[in-house]
Symmetry: C2
Subunit: 251 residues, 2 copies
DNA sequence: GAAATAGTGTCTCTGAGACAGTATGAC
DNA sequence: GTCATACTGTCTCAGAGACACTATTTC
C-alpha cells in the first residue's frame, strides 16, 4: 500500500483516562455516567476527542482538567500535579458501534481528592473501587447488587491500567503520586497495600523505603494524624527508578 | 466537547514497526529506504496505513509479513513466529508534514534472518545496528561516515523500542524470541550480551537460566556449532514472567 | 598436546522476610 | 496505666557475583 495521504481511511481519535487514587485503603478509579447513546446511562472512563491541532498528551491533560480539575505533572517536576502517562491504544474496528474510533488510553495517578467535579459532557462522576469495577474477573461493574459492565471496551482498558499501576510501583517511585506532597512511611505503606491488595510488614517496609537512596526525603516535620507515636514527614525524592525495587509478595 | 461522531477532526492512523534481531553479536533494527517524499531517500521504520476494517495488531502483522516475510506469533503459542506487541502511540500534530497522522508503533522481536526481502512500497530494506542508528545519543543514523537521522520521529520510536526490549528481557522470557526454535545456553547468553551491550559471566549465567523454573526445556539434542564441548539444546519453556528475574549489570 | 566452549562447586556479600524489642504520642 | 503507631536490631535464608575446577569437543 503506497503511503498516499490522499487515500486514507477516516478515523476518529480519542483519549480515555484511567484515573486511579487510593481512598479508604482501597484502589479507586474515576468513572463517569454516559449521557448519550451508545451505552447511555452506563459507567465509562472519562475521555473525549483529540482536537485537530492537539498533541495526545495535551488532550489527555485537558480532559483530566475538565473532568476532575486536576492538573497533570509538569515535565520539570516542579508542581504537585498528578502523574500522567500513556497507557496503550485500543483500535478494534467494532469497539464503537457508530464508527471507527481509535482510543489512546492514558493512566493518571492522583492523591486522594474531594468528590469529583462532574464537568463537560459527564452527567455525573464518582470514584469506584477497582475491585467493584473489575468484579471477580468477570468484567462486570457492581452497582448495588447489579452487575453492569463498563461501556465500550473500558473494562479491558481499566484492567490494563490497574495492572500497569500495580507493576510500576514495584520498580519506580510512582507510589508517591498517590500521596499528598508530605506523607509518612505508614501512609506510603497503605498505598502499596491498597494497590497490591496485600498486607506488608510495617517494620521491614520502613527499613526498606528509608534505605532506598533517592526515594524519600525527610522534610523535618512530624505528624500524629494516624495516631500513635509521631511519624516523620517525607516528600518524594528525585529517584524515579528504585534500586533495589520494592517486591510484591507472592508473585 | 460532546461525544458527537459527526463532528470529529480527520486523522490518519498508521502502524510503524520496530523490528529487532541479533546479528553478529549486535542488536539490529530493520529500516527501509523511503521512495517518496517527505524524507525521500531517507531510512525509516517499516509501516503503513491501518485499513478501514482492520485491527491495529492485524495491521502490524500484515505490514510485518509484507516487509519481511515474517509471521507473527499466534496467540496459542503454537508456531515459531516472531513476537509482536504494541509499543506506544505517537501523535504530535507536526510529526508528518502533510497531514495529521497518529502512528501506533509495535515492537517485533525475531531470530536472525536472511537478508530482508524488500517488499511493497520499500525501495530497499536492510538491517542496521541499533548503535549506528541511535548514534551516540545524538539521534543521527550513520551511513558510512555520514550522519543522517531517520525519517519523521522514528529515532524516538526506535529508542523507545530498544529500551522496551532491553528492560523486558530482564523479567520475561522474551530473549528466547531472538533465538531459533532450538538453542544453547551460550547462544541465549550472547543475545543478552548483544541487547544489553555488556559481558556476562558464562558460568553464573548458565546456572541462573537453567535454574529458573519454566524458562528453558531441554530437547535432548546437543550441538557443537559454537565449537568446544557439545552443548545441550533447549527450547523456550512455558514461563513468560521470570522469577527470579535476570538482572542487568551496573544499573 | 593446545584451544575453545560447556558445565559444576564453592565462597562471600547483599538483601528480603520474620519477628523481638523500644519509643512516643492519645486516651 | 492501655493502646496504637513509629522505629531499630537481629537472625536466617535465597540469590547474585567472583572464580577455581572439571568435561568434551576440534585442531
Amino acid at each position: 500500500m503506497p503511503y498516499d495521504p490522499s487515500a486514507f481511511p477516516p478515523f476518529a481519535v480519542t483519549v480515555d483516562l484511567v484515573v486511579l487514587t487510593v481512598r479508604n485503603h482501597a484502589l479507586c478509579a474515576l468513572v463517569v455516567r454516559r449521557g448519550e447513546p451508545p451505552f447511555q446511562g452506563r459507567w465509562a472512563l472519562p475521555g473525549g476527542f483529540v482536537r485537530a491541532e492537539e498533541d495526545l498528551e495535551a488532550a489527555a491533560a485537558r480532559e483530566l482538567k475538565e473532568e476532575t480539575g486536576l492538573r497533570s505533572h509538569e515535565p520539570d517536576g516542579s508542581d504537585a500535579g498528578a502523574h500522567l502517562e500513556q497507557l496503550a491504544t485500543y483500535g478494534d474496528p467494532q469497539r464503537d458501534p457508530r464508527m471507527r474510533v481509535v482510543s489512546v488510553a492514558h493512566l493518571v495517578l492522583a492523591p486522594d481528592l474531594p468528590a469529583p467535579t462532574a464537568g463537560g459532557d459527564a452527567r455525573s462522576a464518582r470514584w469506584a473501587t477497582a475491585d467493584s469495577l473489575l468484579g471477580s474477573g468477570d468484567g462486570m461493574a457492581r452497582e448495588g447488587d447489579q452487575a453492569v459492565p463498563l461501556a465500550f471496551d473500558h473494562d479491558r482498558i481499566l484492567l490494563d491500567g490497574v495492572e500497569r499501576a500495580r507493576s510500576k510501583i514495584e520498580y519506580s517511585s510512582l507510589a508517591t503520586a498517590f500521596c499528598p506532597p508530605e506523607f509518612t512511611v505508614g501512609e506510603l505503606r497503605r498505598v502499596y497495600e491498597a494497590v497490591w491488595g496485600v498486607a506488608l510488614d510495617p517494620r521491614n517496609f520502613h527499613r526498606k523505603v528509608t534505605g532506598t537512596p533517592g526515594f524519600l526525603v525527610p522534610t523535618g516535620g512530624t505528624t500524629t494524624r494516624q495516631g500513635g507515636r509521631p511519624a516523620q514527614l517525607f516528600r518524594a525524592g528525585g529517584a524515579t527508578l528504585l534500586n533495589p525495587p520494592m517486591l510484591r509478595p507472592e508473585v
